[in-house]
């Protein structure tokens, strides 16, 4: 092959490769519509039950890591950050594990209309509040910037549409709606590398995030047999088969172990 032919080939090959990359990477929203096809269900207050429990942690939890916020003077100067900073990955209080997403992963019949109330993911003191949250498919999630600095909000969804948006102004609000079930979607601010959050998206309202005392409550659960799953960002998932009876409260505890 002579050199001019090589050049011509190269001149076509480079843009073609770039285009191929672009097309290959434009997967977009590839979630299936299985949820959408399910019949609409409603909670019957006459039979609805409750699932309660506690998530504990066995073993020695990792020492809290400090977060260095010098990279942004605003974050460093925020009053609530004057205390020693710790990451929000593993929060254990008296053996109870916080920030565990507990949800019915199997056994729920039908899909539920999204709750009218919106959930808020707040950026305050260069941290996400809450660190873990649940939202229903179609429910409005408001992302708020309470800081006097800019943030980007990058949700690395695999089934829903991935997004990376900018919030430059204090008080700025941005609405987001997820269209498919996905547990969990990691959210990060790449400006402030320590900011991480996780969102669980479900087609029903039977989920909760454990409080600082490790407790959780799932209300309005129809009677039936379910798989209850507890998810933690560092320690993975635990599951239990449970049977929920009419108007009763079922107690279920989970115990994560240090590796």
């Amino acid at each position: 092959m002579n050199s001019s032919r090589s050049l011509r080939l190269g001149a076509w090959l480079l843009p073609a490769l770039l285009l191929a990359f672009a097309l290959a990477s434009c997967g977009g929203d590839s979630g299936d519509d299985a949820d959408a096809k399910k019949p609409l269900a409603t909670i019957d207050p006459a039979t609805a039950a409750t699932i309660t429990g506690t998530v504990t942690f066995q073993g020695t939890p990792p020492a809290p890591k400090s977060v260095r916020m010098e990279a942004d003077p605003h974050c460093n100067a925020t009053p609530e950050n004057e205390t020693p900073e710790v990451t929000q990955e593993v929060v254990v209080n008296n053996g109870r594990l916080a920030n565990v997403f507990v949800y019915l992963s199997d056994g729920v019949k039908g899909r539920y209309a999204p709750t009218a109330d919106s959930v808020v993911l707040d950026q305050r003191g260069c941290r996400y509040h809450p660190h873990v949250l649940g939202v229903m498919v179609g429910q409005r999630m408001v992302v708020r910037n309470s800081d006097a600095t800019l943030h980007n909000i990058h949700a690395a969804a695999k089934i829903n549409k991935e997004f990376n948006i900018a919030q430059t102004q204090q008080g700025q609000l941005t609405d987001q709606v997820f269209t498919h079930t996905e547990v969990m979607i990691p959210v990060a601010c790449d400006v402030h590398g320590w900011m991480r959050s996780f969102i669980g998206v479900l087609s029903h309202p039977f989920f909760a995030v454990t409080a600082t005392d490790g407790s959780f409550v799932l209300k309005g659960v129809p009677p039936g047999t379910y798989t209850l799953t507890a998810w933690h960002e560092k320690y993975g998932t635990l599951q239990q088969k449970i049977e929920v009876k009419e108007r009763e409260s079922t107690a279920v505890d989970f115990a994560f172990k240090a590796p």
Partner: protein
């Protein structure tokens, strides 16, 4: 026939050729150094996970890039936006270099190379933008990292081709008996390039700490390539507060370690041949010694990258030193291929017949 110091033999126009060529050479060196800085910043962007800290492209938070307020250069934005700014200047420098080459250098291959450098820097910009807009897909980011090395190689080759040394060192040396240094140097450059590609894929698929110890692999000399070993390895990674990995990530990481072994072997082999058989040629001797020194630095940085759990500055220096090793090997390859004739001196090579080829120019100069 031109005299030894005549500029015509380098394809330069006679008028102001010597001084102009020196300026061109210096400008090419400056552009090369600028690209090194750019590669370091690119390394910092990846090491600090700042690649998506500026969600839009080519604008920055809605501002025209050069008007983005300095006060907002915080956190990851500092690295990502600095990378974009320095890259823009690199683009301008490369376009200027191409224009400079076309103005003062008549050698067709140098002109073509400079044109390809401009195409490469444009493609780099597009790949950089694509990787931001597509949320850092591994293959786009890896291509961005790989093309950066090729782009640097092009500019460095222009710097070499316009140097005074290019003139002074053209002596008709017949390749000396033994393993061909021409082939060895080329094979070393290709090996280093392949290693950089593997490194880029490993880095952008988050496999840099798939094995967090060195020289052993999770305390063993046997690579963790079975499902059971991988599961056990992942438990250790989680306990160390590191992300668990897939088999693909593990393989990518191990390939980079294997690549380091291959590069070490090739550099030692090439340098030994150069130092033993071409010791009397200072430029080759210096080149070989530089390659050895860079190998030591690069291996040290690679080990430190693992032991410090990818401390950003060390990791980025590892990336930059990899680029320096590649271009040093490339310079050796280029010099050897045009200083040392293959086989008998004057034996016609297939491409010698092509007008404007470096070999033809050299032979003309030697006449």
């Amino acid at each position: 026939m031109h005299s030894e110091s005549s500029p015509e033999r380098f394809g330069m126009r006679p008028i102001r050729a010597y001084a102009t060529r020196r300026r061109l050479h210096r400008f090419a060196i400056f552009t090369s150094l600028w690209i090194f800085a750019l590669i370091f910043l690119g390394g910092m962007v990846k090491s600090t996970n700042s690649g998506l800290s500026v969600p839009d492209w080519p604008n920055t938070y809605g501002h025209f890039m050069f008007f983005f307020p300095w006060k907002d250069m915080v956190g990851g934005i500092f690295w990502e936006h600095s990378h974009r700014m320095v890259a823009s200047v690199a683009g301008l420098l490369t376009f200027a270099l191409t224009a400079f080459v076309y103005l003062v250098d008549d050698r067709r291959w140098v002109r073509r190379l400079s044109m390809w450098a401009s195409v490469a820097v444009l493609a780099q910009g597009v790949l950089g933008g694509l990787t931001v807009l597509l949320y850092l897909p591994t293959w786009v980011s890896s291509s961005h990292g790989t093309l950066a090395q090729l782009y640097l190689c092009m500019v460095v080759t222009i710097a070499v081709a316009t140097s005074e040394r290019w003139k002074d060192d053209i002596e008709p040396i017949t390749e000396r008996p033994g393993r061909s240094l021409r082939r060895l140097a080329l094979a070393t450059t290709i090996t280093i390039f392949c290693q950089l590609v593997i490194g880029a894929v490993m880095r952008h698929s988050e496999a840099g700490l798939a094995v967090p110890d060195f020289p052993t692999m999770f305390g063993s000399w046997v690579p963790p390539l079975s499902a059971a070993r991988l599961e056990s390895a992942n438990r250790e990674l989680i306990a160390m507060d590191l992300a668990p990995v897939t088999m693909w990530q593990m393989v990518a990481h191990l390939m980079h370690r294997l690549g380091a072994l291959a590069v070490t072997t090739m550099i030692l082999w090439t340098s030994t041949v150069a130092l033993r058989r071409y010791r009397d040629i200072p430029v080759l001797r210096r080149n070989a010694l530089m390659l050895l020194a860079l190998l030591v630095v690069q291996l040290t940085l690679g080990i430190l990258t693992i032991l410090t759990q990818k401390q950003p500055e060390i990791t980025s220096l590892h990336v930059v030193t990899g680029a320096a090793t590649l271009v040093t090997s490339l310079i050796l390859t280029v010099r050897v291929r045009y200083l040392v004739a293959s086989g008998a001196a004057g034996a016609p090579a297939r491409r010698d017949a092509r007008a404007g080829s470096p070999r033809k120019e050299m032979e003309e100069a030697m006449t």
